[in-house]
C-alpha cells in the first residue's frame, strides 16, 4: 500500500542524513527564511522562527492561489512548463549535487564523462517516466527519489526551530486548504472534477495503475469518489547564501490523498498521495535523525508515529470517501513524539541501558 513508498522515502532520507555530512552542515539559508536563528536570546530566536514561518507559508499560499488561477483560466501550457522545469531541476541539478556529496563521503573518484553519462541517463529516464509513459514501478521509484531529494534540501536549508514551526504551520494550512469551502485546494479539486480531467502526474504518487491515453472509456474523475487535489510544486534553490538570484521556483506544498476508483477489471483500489506529503514526512523524520542527538530511538518513534497517522488518514478516507489532507494527523503525531521522545524517553532509555535493565 502506501506504507512501502513512504517508508522507502524516509529510509533514503535518514540514511543520507546519517552518512553524508553535507546535509547536516549549516551553509546559509533560503531566501524564504531570511531571519537568522543565531541570536543571543531565546525570545528573539522564537520570534525569528515564527517570522520565517509566516513568510514561508505566505509564499506557499500565494503559489497555490496562483496555480488555482492558472488552472481555472486553462493556462495548461504554463503549468506544464512550470512542472517540467521543476522536475528538470530536481532530476538533474539536485541529483548531481547529491551524487557529488555521496562520492565525497565515501571517497570514490568519478571522472566527468562517467558522471555526465550517469546523470544524463538518470535524469532523462526520469523525465520520460514522470511526464510521459513508463513502467509504474519506475515512475514510483523516481517520484520517491525526487521527494527524498527535495526533503534533503529542506533539511539542509531550514534552520532548526523554523523547521519545526513550519511543519506545524503547514499541517494547519493543509487542513484549512483542503477542507474549507473556499480553500484553494478544494477549489482546485472541484474545478478538476467539473472538467473531468486527469491529474498532473508529476505531483501525485499513485499506488495503482495510471490510466493512459488509450483507455478513454475509463474516465477516472467521473466517479464521485475521486477528488483531485494538488498544489504547485515549489523548489528553492538558493544554493549559496549570498542572495544570488534563485532559480525560478515551482512550488510543492502539501497534497492530499484520495481513493482511486473501483472498476470492474481492477481488483485493487489505487490510493494516491501527494508528493508534498512525502516530502514533509521525510523532513520530519530527517530532522529527527539530524538533530536528535545521534539517537535512533527518536527517529524510530517519529517513523512509527507518522505511519500510524497515515493509517488513520487512510481509515478516514475509507469512511468519508473524499479528498482529505494527509499531513495534519501524521505531522501532529510526529511532532508530539519527537519532542516527547527526545526529552522524556531518551534519558529514561539511556539510564536503563547504562544499568543493563530490560523492560
Amino acid at each position: 500500500m502506501l506504507f512501502v513508498p513512504v517508508t522507502l522515502c524516509m529510509i533514503v532520507v535518514v540514511a543520507t542524513i546519517k552518512s553524508v555530512r553535507f546535509y547536516t552542515e549549516k551553509n546559509g539559508q533560503l531566501i524564504y527564511t531570511p531571519f537568522t536563528e543565531d541570536t543571543p536570546s531565546v525570545g528573539q530566536r522564537l520570534l525569528n522562527s515564527v517570522l520565517n514561518t509566516l513568510i514561508m507559508i505566505s509564499v506557499i499560499v500565494v503559489m497555490t492561489i496562483f496555480l488555482v488561477v492558472l488552472y481555472k483560466y486553462r493556462c495548461y501550457k504554463f503549468i506544464h512548463g512550470w512542472l517540467i522545469m521543476s522536475s528538470l531541476m530536481l532530476l538533474f541539478l539536485f541529483t548531481y549535487i547529491y551524487l557529488g556529496e555521496v562520492l565525497k563521503t565515501y571517497n570514490v573518484a568519478m571522472d566527468y564523462p562517467t558522471l555526465l553519462l550517469t546523470v544524463w541517463n538518470f535524469g532523462a529516464v526520469g523525465m520520460v517516466c514522470i511526464h510521459w509513459k513508463g513502467p509504474l514501478v519506475l515512475q514510483q521509484a523516481y517520484l520517491i527519489m525526487i521527494s527524498a531529494l527535495m526533503a534533503l534540501v529542506f533539511i539542509k536549508y531550514l534552520p532548526e526551530w523554523s523547521a519545526w514551526v513550519i511543519l506545524g504551520a503547514i499541517s494547519v494550512y493543509d487542513l484549512v486548504a483542503v477542507l474549507c469551502p473556499k480553500g484553494p485546494l478544494r477549489m482546485l479539486v472541484e474545478t478538476a472534477q467539473e472538467r473531468n480531467e486527469p491529474i498532473f502526474p508529476a505531483l501525485i504518487y499513485s499506488s495503482a495503475m495510471v490510466w493512459t491515453v488509450g483507455m478513454a472509456k475509463l474516465d477516472p474523475s467521473s466517479q464521485g469518489a475521486l477528488q483531485l487535489p494538488y498544489d504547485p510544486e515549489m523548489e528553492e534553490d538558493s544554493y549559496d547564501s549570498f542572495g544570488e538570484p534563485s532559480y525560478p521556483e515551482v512550488f510543492e506544498p502539501p497534497l492530499t490523498g484520495y481513493p482511486g476508483e473501483e472498476l470492474e477489471e481492477e481488483e485493487e483500489r489505487g490510493v494516491k498521495l501527494g508528493l508534498g506529503d512525502f516530502i514533509f514526512y521525510s523532513v520530519l523524520v530527517g530532522k529527527a535523525a539530524a538533530t536528535g542527538s545521534g539517537d535512533w530511538n527518536t527517529t524510530l518513534a517519529c517513523f512509527v508515529a507518522i505511519l500510524i497517522g497515515l493509517c488513520l488518514t487512510l481509515l478516514l478516507l475509507a469512511v468519508f470517501k473524499k479528498a482529505l489532507p494527509a499531513l495534519p494527523i501524521s505531522i501532529t503525531f510526529g511532532l508530539i513524539f519527537y519532542f516527547s521522545t527526545d526529552n522524556l524517553v531518551r534519558p529514561f532509555m539511556d539510564t536503563l541501558a547504562s544499568h543493563q535493565l530490560y523492560i
Partner: protein
C-alpha cells in the same frame, strides 16, 4: 568493533522477528497495520512510563546515589505495568476491529516485541559499528552478544505473552493476565538483580521456553499436530499452502 559484530548481533536479535514478519505478516496489509498499531501502543506506553519516571525524578530532586537506582527500578516496574495495560487496550482495539481475532495472534505480540527490542538494542548496535574495545574497563567482553540474545528473548517473549494474554482475555480468565504481568516483572527484575550475564540469560531462556509451550498450547497446538507438522503429514497445512499459491 567490526561489521561482523554488527551484522551478527543484528541478526541474532532480530532474525526470528524478521522471519515471523516475512512469513506471517508481510502478505496481508491488514496485519501490517495491526503490527504498526501494536508498535504504536508500546511506544505510547513507554512515553507514559518515561513521563512518570521523569516526574518522580523531578519531585525527589536530582540526587546521585542509590536514590537514582531505586527510582530507576520503580520506573522499570511502572513501565512493565503500563505496558501490560496497553496490551489490554490493544486487545480491546483489535477485538473491535476484527472478528477473527484468533487468526492474527502472532501480530499482537510482535508489534510490542519489535518496538521493545528495537528501542533497547538499536543504539547499542549503532555503537558497535564505531571504534572501540569492549570490556576495556573490566566489564564483560561479551556485552554485545549478551545484549543481542537478551533482545531476542524479549522479542519472542512479547510474542508469546501476546498470544497467551489474548487467549486469557478471550476466555475471560483474568488469572492469566496476572501471570503474564508477573512473568514480565520477573524477567525485568532479574536483569538488574543479577549482574552475571549467564544466569540472567539462562533463566530468561527457561521462561521463554515455558511461555512458548503455553502459547503453543493456547493457540490450539498439541503434540500430535506438532508431529504431523514436522513430518509434513499435516493435510490441512499442505492443502492450505497449495491453495494460496
Amino acid at each position: 568493533m567490526t561489521a561482523a559484530v554488527f551484522f551478527g548481533c543484528a541478526f541474532i536479535a532480530f532474525g526470528p522477528a524478521l522471519a515471523l514478519y516475512v512469513f506471517t505478516i508481510a502478505t496481508e496489509p491488514l496485519r501490517i497495520i495491526f503490527l504498526i498499531a501494536g508498535a504504536f501502543f508500546w511506544l505510547v506506553s513507554l512515553l507514559i512510563s518515561s513521563l512518570v519516571w521523569f516526574m518522580a525524578r523531578v519531585i525527589i530532586d536530582n540526587k546521585d546515589g542509590p536514590t537514582q537506582k531505586y527510582l530507576l527500578i520503580f520506573g522499570a516496574f511502572v513501565s512493565v505495568y503500563i505496558q501490560e495495560m496497553f496490551r489490554f487496550a490493544y486487545y480491546k482495539l483489535l477485538k473491535k476491529a476484527s472478528e477473527g481475532l484468533k487468526s492474527i495472534n502472532p501480530v499482537s505480540g510482535l508489534g510490542f516485541g519489535i518496538m521493545s527490542g528495537v528501542f533497547s538494542f538499536v543504539n547499542t548496535l549503532s555503537d558497535s559499528l564505531g571504534p572501540g574495545t569492549v570490556g576495556i574497563h573490566g566489564d564483560s567482553p561479551q556485552f554485545f552478544l549478551y545484549s543481542a540474545f537478551m533482545t531476542l528473548v524479549i522479542i519472542l517473549l512479547h510474542v508469546f505473552w501476546g498470544i497467551v494474554f489474548f487467549d486469557g482475555c478471550e476466555k475471560k480468565k483474568w488469572g492469566i493476565l496476572l501471570i503474564v504481568l508477573l512473568t514480565h516483572l520477573l524477567v525485568s527484575a532479574q536483569t538488574f538483580i543479577s549482574s552475571y550475564y549467564g544466569i540472567n540469560l539462562a533463566s530468561a531462556f527457561i521462561i521463554l521456553v515455558l511461555m512458548g509451550t503455553w502459547a503453543f498450547l493456547a493457540a490450539g497446538g498439541s503434540c500430535r499436530s506438532l508431529k504431523l507438522c514436522l513430518l509434513c503429514q499435516d493435510k490441512n497445512f499442505l492443502l492450505y499452502n497449495q491453495r494460496s499459491r
